[in-house]
């Protein structure tokens, strides 16, 4: 089963860059003032999810198992 990937809720993100600075896979970029995860690079470590101060990062397709 595919691992779940982090996704940014664009309507919630306030573009602080915190998630980008801690992602060990370098999988997140700021595109037009919103953080954006490249799911090909994400290894599902959950660091960005825990870091976001307003909880704007969740898991893609909540039904996917880890």
């Amino acid at each position: 089963m595919a691992k779940r990937k982090a996704v940014v809720k664009k309507e919630k993100c306030l573009a602080c860059g915190g998630c980008i600075s801690v992602c060990p896979q370098d999988a997140i970029l700021m595109i037009f003032s919103k953080a954006d995860v490249d799911d090909k690079l994400c290894n599902s470590c959950s660091i960005c999810v825990k870091t976001c101060p307003i909880g704007a990062i969740t898991w893609e397709g909540a039904s996917h198992a880890l």
Partner: protein, 396 residues
Amino acid sequence: MHYDAVVIGSGPAGSVTARYAAESGAKVLIIERRAEVGVPVLCGEGISQKVDHYKVLEGTRWIATKMQGARIFSPNGTMVTLAAEYAGNETGYVVYRDIFDQELARGAVKKGAELMLNTRAVGLLKKNGKITGISAQQFDETIDIEADVVVGADGVESRVGRWAGIKTTLKPYDLETCVQYTLANIDWDSPYCDFFLGKHVAPGGYVWVFPKGKDVANVGIGILASLSEAGKAKQYLDKFIAAQPALKKGEPLRILTGADPVAEPIQSVTDNILLVGDAARQVDPITGGGLMHAIEAGRYAGETIRKAVEKQQFDTELLSEYETRWKKAFGKKLHRNYVVKEIMLDMEDKTLDMLADSLKDYKFEEFSTISIIKALVTKHPSLLVKLTPLMKLARA
């Protein structure tokens, strides 16, 4: 398009670097991905009055309030007051960061720097392994900008360092994840910047209240990312505000999220590359304050670029002068404060309360680590054990 230096980012680090480089006649371009310099603001907006010495800001439009000092509240509410001259780099003025950044950028432009907005650096240009500039996305076009020096002043999420092979990824243990409201209509008329500590207030960080005039203040929180869960920073801040009668009727004029590196300094120079400000992790690991260091390091960076252009030499050997200068000026302090951060993170709330109790009547006249430790230990001898690592540092 060929420049002596291209600066990525128009924050304080970038603008001050560009100012000092351009002043000497170097051809300098700043690129900024935003559509307006300094907007949106991502900052608590406190800065020491030491900023006046640099003479990089004209007029007073950037000042919201002048502060008398700082007050630190331990978990049980014990208050320690610090006069402005001892309160570190974050108290003195509370500023309007958008105007502040625009004034710094205006200063750079006045000295001859060029500035491009809506322009995002996307990678380095290389020829035979040598860095020759950057590639950027400007509106919907990709452009190449050639430059002898590429300055990464691109803040906490810095890409420039990574592109050049410098390890910049932060450990969650080295990042404060932040939320801040600018609250209006509050009863908070105080000449002090306030800091609130405690595991139940802000795990691994603190809540701050920085007044911006009679009934407006920045009320924010930073918690250590390694102690954070999704959305936790905002939950803690909301809880804090709800429990403060003077704040809870406030309405937000602004909400922001922020990321503040509280790390050890990193390598800031390689061939054709300089990193300045948050990109080089030049932030005080205890307070999270980075504005003064960004300005100071920006000056050294600009002066080093001037030398490099004069000699037409852009390798690590010459550019290292920049790193030597900033490390000499405040590198030791950053290292020492990093160790203090680690000690404080291990402290129980009870210990913080004892510390505050020992210091609450302390006159911060003789301000040396040793004299403070003496004051602490006289009142609460059991603190001695906990502070041994600090004493070692003070002697080093």
